[in-house]
Amino acid sequence: MWRYTFKRLIQGIVTVWFIATATFFVMHFVPGDPLSDARATSEQIRKNLEARYGLDKPLAEQYYIYLKNIASGDLGISFTQQNREVNDIIREHFPVSAALGVLAVVFAALGGILWGALTALFRNRMPDIVIMFFVVLGVSVPSFVFAALGQLSLVTLNDWLGTSILPVAGWGSVQHLLVPSLVLGLGTMAFLTRLMRSSMLEVTGADYVRTARAKGLNATQIFIRHQLRNAILPVVTVLGPAIATITTGGFVVEIVFAIPGLGRFFVQSVQQLDYTVIMGTTVFYGGFLVFMVIAVDLVYGLIDPRVRVR
């Protein structure tokens, strides 16, 4: 187990290096000049600015400094917001995205497991058909439509009740979080429901379930102890990539609900060509995702003893 963990961590670090390198070279070859705006009025000011951002050095040295800074956790200073460190920006905006994402993953996982188990229990009967109809809807409707619908229904609800029970947009309290994270998790929930359904159906036909039934265990016990526990395993494996989908998919929800998350900030910094912020955010997000996937895989090893051997 330790050896496996160590190997995965090393792999993760190499992957982050690759992401950082790709980001560096992509950004370096982006047409346009980070200092082409009005600030660099004279030759001298321009030189000073280049020196400040280290742009006067050869490419290889810039790359070396960049890697060294990332290794020490320094992502640089923003180009457009004076003297603001990228680290500060991430520190300020990432917790918002993370809170939203975590809640969305929780919604998606719980919902997916619950609905998936239900559909398998009521296979080809009414609950199954109804839930699967919504699942098909869930994987086919783009997230911004869900976001718009969510917001619209909040407006209608608040209007109907005469008071504001849940805020329509913005940030600040748990109430602000509920609907956006539900909306954010819907697509993944639909996907997980589908997965859970087929996994449950597979387990239902398994030998150990038949044995349990033959032993005379009641249906509830078989369902909880034998079917559910085994059927959840494939759901856990895809949670890693699901976290990736949800955190990067947060852009839309953040924009529609006016949430000051990192995703919205990233889009904004791309529009303003704020090089250091773009690079810093990409590397940070990339690293976060890589290590989330590794963490999920390690947890999977704890849950399912069979993978630990490999």
Binding site: T15, F18, I19, A22, T23, V26, M27, F29, V30, P31, G32, V136, L137, V139, S140, V141, P142, S143, F144, V145, A148, L152, V155, R197, S198, L201, E202, A244, T248, G249, F251, V252, I255, V256, F266, V267, V270, Q271, L273, I278, T281, T282, Y285, G286, L289, V290
Partner: protein, 453 residues
């Protein structure tokens, strides 16, 4: 059954037993037979063909320029009435004759040219505030403030601000000497606004012929927009058709390209094997680890959009660069499996060259899986395009795409919901059709991946 009925005499040996009655079906014939039996798949196939016809043949039949603005009909919903009455050109309001009646009332019939309101004096208020709303006003929300009328100006107000042929609720609120709004004393009336056009205007827009004999009070019909218009007065049907070209082009061509790339990459890795395989697949792992949407945006920036370009090609290239590894992994796995099959060994023993082996045995045997991957890749590419265009990182305006149309529509979703709903329906139906088609294809083509029913 009695013993007498049992016949223990040997049966006649049949020569027909081994005869094959039904015609033998090839893999593809069998798959097609399965597909046809699945009503969901056939429905989605019809929808896909319909969408392609809508995209390719649509602009031929509905020859309206998607960039053309109809300024008389902004944000009109599908099926809105499009008749207009011809009126005299606008003339300043002289307010000569007193208007009969009491309270807040119309001085003349309301039209899109102007709405003229008059009301009665109040002792305590030297001024009045005028509001207009699209909805019945509540105690606190009266709509947009149009202006303040001082008593010295007379108790009348003329509204000419962007009038639409709908129903408005006009409110006047008296203002007291201390400049407080006396909300309790407000008055509201409902005004139905009639669409009008001047004779000159109708001629300029080509609604009537130059020499046509029309007079004030006659009706003319404005240009037809079967699915309404957007907030700039552009025809929704034309924009949806041209938007479909962008969305489906990216949605189909990008997966086609990256699946091909993935097949080539994966079959080389799988066939060559050894250290090359390890190296190639490690690289694929790295590309998979790149945060997809972030890098889509970065590549979009890298390939830059010049003025006048639509941004379709950068998005296509970015999708291809980031999309191929999944297919590569899948095909490599398949190739590794097939490589060990006996028919491949047999072909190799007979001296088949590598290229022949790949082209004749490997690719045809993985084609089913590849086709399924391709079908599932299309909806996800359509989603990606819609997503990027929605956050403003996709195709550049004025090129329409379903995603950018949704982006524009969501801003006015309360007032004119059709601008969001129509493109959203098109995206959803397309994605749904391709997803169902993928499910059906998988069931028909690949016995191992057959979904549990």
């Amino acid at each position: 059954m009695s013993a007498a009925e049992l016949d223990f005499s040997p049966a006649e040996r049949s020569t027909e037993a081994a005869r094959i009655v039904r015609p033998s079906l090839s893999y593809w014939q069998d798959a097609w037979r399965r597909l046809r039996q699945n009503p969901r798949t056939m429905t989605s196939l019809v929808i896909v063909i319909g969408l392609l016809a809508f995209t390719l043949a649509g602009p031929w039949i509905w020859r309206v320029d998607p960039a053309n603005q109809d300024l008389d009909q902004l944000s009109i919903p599908p099926g809105a009435p499009r008749s207009a009455f011809i009126v005299e050109p606008y003339r300043a309001w002289t307010r000569s004759a007193p208007v009969p009646g009491a309270g807040l009332r119309l001085a003349e019939e309301a039209s899109t040219q102007r709405v003229r309101l008059v009301w009665d004096t109040r002792e305590d208020s030297p001024a009045f505030e005028v509001f207009r709303d699209n909805y019945p006003p509540t105690a606190t929300a009266l709509g947009i403030p149009l202006g303040e009328v001082l008593l010295s100006d007379g108790l009348a107000f003329e509204d000419r601000l962007a009038l639409e042929p709908t129903t408005y609720y006009y409110s006047i609120v008296p203002v007291d000497a201390d400049n407080h709004l006396l909300m309790n004393a407000r008055e509201t009336i409902k005004v139905d606004v009639k669409r009008v056009i001047t004779l000159e205007g109708a001629r300029q827009r080509g609604l009537i012929a130059e020499d046509a004999r029309m007079q004030v009070g006659d009706q003319v019909r404005l240009a037809l927009h079967p699915l309404g218009t957007d907030y700039l007065g552009r025809d929704m049907l034309a924009r949806l058709m041209h938007g479909a070209r962008v969305s489906l082009f990216i949605g189909i061509v990008a997966p086609l390209l990256y699946v091909l790339l993935g097949v080539a990459y994966g079959s080389i890795a799988g066939f060559v094997g050894g250290a090359t395989d390890q190296l190639l697949m490690r690289f694929a792992d790295f590309v998979v680890a790149l945060p997809f949407l972030l890098f889509m945006i970065l590549f979009k920036v890298l390939f830059g959009i010049g003025p006048g370009e639509s941004g379709i090609v950068p998005m296509l290239v970015a999708l291809v660069i980031l999309g191929w590894p999944a297919t590569a992994r899948l095909v490599r796995g398949q190739i590794l499996q097939i490589r060990e099959e006996s028919y491949v060994s047999a072909a190799r023993l007979m001296g088949s060259p590598t290229g022949y082996l790949i082209a004749r045995h490997m690719i045809p045997n993985t084609l089913g899986v590849i086709l399924v991957t391709l079908t599932f890749a299309i909806p996800s590419a359509i989603f990606t395009e819609a997503f990027l265009s929605f956050i403003g990182m996709g195709v550049a305006p004025p090129t329409p795409s379903w995603g950018s149309m949704s982006n524009e529509g969501i801003k006015t979703m309360l007032v004119s919901p059709h601008e969001l709903i129509l493109p959203a329906i098109f995206i959803s139906v397309t994605v749904l059709a391709f997803n169902l088609l993928g499910d059906g294809l998988r069931d028909a083509l690949d016995a191992r991946m057959r979904s549990v029913e």
